[in-house]
């Protein structure tokens, strides 16, 4: 009864994703929002790793391969996102998201 099951990993993944979702929706600072999005990526990866361990499949490593590609794309996203934030800060001296209204009509 103490054994780890798939549900442990699924619940932890859902928890991490929801906390990240709350952060991404409630914070106003652009860097904090990017950090929350990284947290959401982590929740997804925990879910994938749990599924890849416990669910029957021809190759038990497919979920981990997915997670590796997600990590790579997350790294690219973080680099470009932070470059955009730094460029906006140089222009407007703020990284509060409500102040990013240049393209608002």
């Amino acid at each position: 009864m103490f054994a780890l099951t798939l549900n442990h990993f699924l619940l932890l993944g859902a928890l991490l994703f929801s906390i990240g979702l709350f952060g991404a929706l409630s914070r106003r600072n652009a860097v904090a929002i990017l950090m929350s999005i990284e947290l959401m990526f982590n929740g997804v990866n925990v879910t994938l790793v749990g599924l890849s361990r416990y669910v029957a499949s021809a190759n038990p490593l497919l979920g981990q391969i997915f997670a590796i590609f997600i990590i790579t794309v997350a790294a690219a996203e973080a680099a470009v996102g932070l470059a955009i934030i730094i460029a906006i800060y140089r222009d407007r001296k703020t990284i509060e998201v409500p102040d990013f209204d240049l393209m608002k009509w």
């Binding site: 780890l4 991490l16 906390i19 409630s26 925990v46 990590i71 690219a76 973080a78």
Partner: protein, 163 residues
């Protein structure tokens, strides 16, 4: 007995990662948020180890706790003078509602699905098998990823440099 130890380790590191995540959301200073996020990432790396994903645990420590956090810290240091005002209560409430609804929905869906469970759990090291898979079956996505990383690198330099 190993089951009990694995469970204790899972709950400990799960608490560490969730606690780090909550601390990251709650901290008002960005640097504190970043430190809490590192704690959360390391907790998740330990969770990967418990799922026998040893290669991913290493990748998690190197890429997330290492590289991405350094990027975040650079961004925080390069944008000084940011004191975050507390968000409007309406926004907080709406965000909590959306996130809570999402959590309830995913939990019910994931728990309610009857997954085809594997009969035997593999305990083999994963690094060699992942390398074989990436360079054979997934060689095209792998090459596309390198193009994506190159484009992201050039783009980040182009956007962030002073002109």
């Amino acid at each position: 007995m190993t089951d009990v130890f694995a469970s204790i380790a899972f709950y400990t590191f799960g608490l560490v990662s969730v606690g780090g995540a909550i601390g990251m959301i709650a901290a008002r200073k960005l640097v504190h948020s970043a430190i809490f996020l590192v704690v959360s990432f390391l907790g998740v790396a330990a969770i990967y180890l418990l799922a026998r994903a040893d290669f991913l645990a290493g990748v998690q420590v190197l890429i997330y706790a290492g590289a991405i956090m350094i990027l975040m810290l650079f961004a925080i240091m390069l944008t000084p003078g940011q004191v975050e005002a507390a968000g409007r209560p309406g926004q907080q409430l709406a965000a909590a509602l959306v996130a809570g609804a999402f959590l309830v929905m995913t939990t019910f869906t994931l728990m309610g699905t009857s997954w085809p469970m594997a009969q035997t759990l593999s305990d083999k090291p994963t690094t060699e098998a992942i390398g074989q898979l990436i360079l054979n079956r997934f060689v095209l996505p792998f090459e596309l990823t390198s193009v994506l990383l190159l484009a992201a690198m050039v783009g980040a330099i182009l956007i962030a440099r002073e002109d």
